[in-house]
């Protein structure tokens, strides 16, 4: 089934607030093998000038996925998720996420285009604190294999 091009430009409602915790940051850092004490030791992070332990640069994907999954799993979009692979990913940070941040993520489908036999769907997710401070923008490209065949 072809992807519904009417979804280009569509924004989805903001996610529920996500509270960044020390435990989750440490769990994520352990899972990716990042040894930095700044992800685990509050005093070390504060000595480096941060309010609390900071998240590794790819941590935002945890928050992004929860938001963008609403978009990509929307039935009317017509994406066959079993054929989806990650094509590209980019993060732009105004500052690192740190423990204690409470953030909301909002995703927009920025483009849907054919790439050979495949279809590429790009999304933009903005992560802001509940106070409105912009922290991170995540740009993702998902590839639906065979979607244009």
């Amino acid at each position: 089934m072809a992807l519904n091009r009417d979804y280009i430009g569509r924004s989805f409602p903001p996610s529920e607030p996500y509270e960044v915790s020390r435990v989750k940051i440490a769990e994520f850092a352990n899972a990716i093998g990042d040894p930095s004490p700044l992800c685990r030791d509050r005093e070390a992070a504060q000595a480096a000038g941060y309010p609390d332990v900071i998240a590794p640069p790819t941590f935002a994907i945890v928050i992004t996925m929860a938001s963008s999954s609403h978009a990509v799993l929307d039935e009317d979009l017509g994406l066959d998720y079993s054929m989806v692979v990650h094509g590209e990913q980019r993060f732009e940070y105004a500052r690192p996420l740190h423990a204690g941040d409470v953030v909301v993520a909002q995703s927009t489908i920025t483009d849907i285009r054919n790439a050979g036999r495949n279809v590429m769907l790009t999304t933009r997710t903005d992560i802001k604190t509940t106070g409105g401070e912009h922290v991170c923008t995540a740009l993702s490209a998902l590839v639906e294999r065979g979607g244009a065949a």
């Binding site: 989750k24 769990e27 994520f28 352990n30 899972a31 990716i32 093998g33 990042d34 040894p35 930095s36 700044l38 992800c39 000595a47 480096a48 000038g49 941060y50 900071i54 998240a55 590794p56 640069p57 790819t58 994907i61 945890v62 996925m65 929860a66 079993s82 054929m83 692979v85 990650h86 094509g87 590209e88 990913q89 980019r90 993060f91 732009e92 940070y93 500052r95 690192p96 740009l139």
Partner: protein, 142 residues
Amino acid sequence: MAATVKYADVQPGAELEARSYPVTRLDLVKYCGASGDFNVIHWNERIAKSVGLPDVIAHGMFTMSQAGRYASEWAGDPGAVVEFGVRFSSPVVVPDDDKGATIEVSGTVEEKLDGNKVVLALVARSDGTKVLTRARAVVVLP
């Protein structure tokens, strides 16, 4: 800002020391839990093969995270990475044995920008194949 590399000391064109990061099935299971991405192709060989993959593959974001860790470790501060983008060019295939796979990451200082920013061009390979291309990290240094 705890980066240990000084902006003034960085030379464009400088090559960073390459690092090798092992990845086993257990690492993928941990990453599933930590990230919330439980896609079966990252832990179930039967289903991975049924959709045309050679075996279980690592999450693209796990591979990207190894390149992120490389840039963070070089700078001495994960918070120094202000921009980070990659293209996933090939999957990292992770066999069900004690050895698993290896992700080799190398990098070059591509450019120095204003604002104490440095652009790192990163390359990640596994089993001789480039698994990340167009990988760039912008790092802010003191």
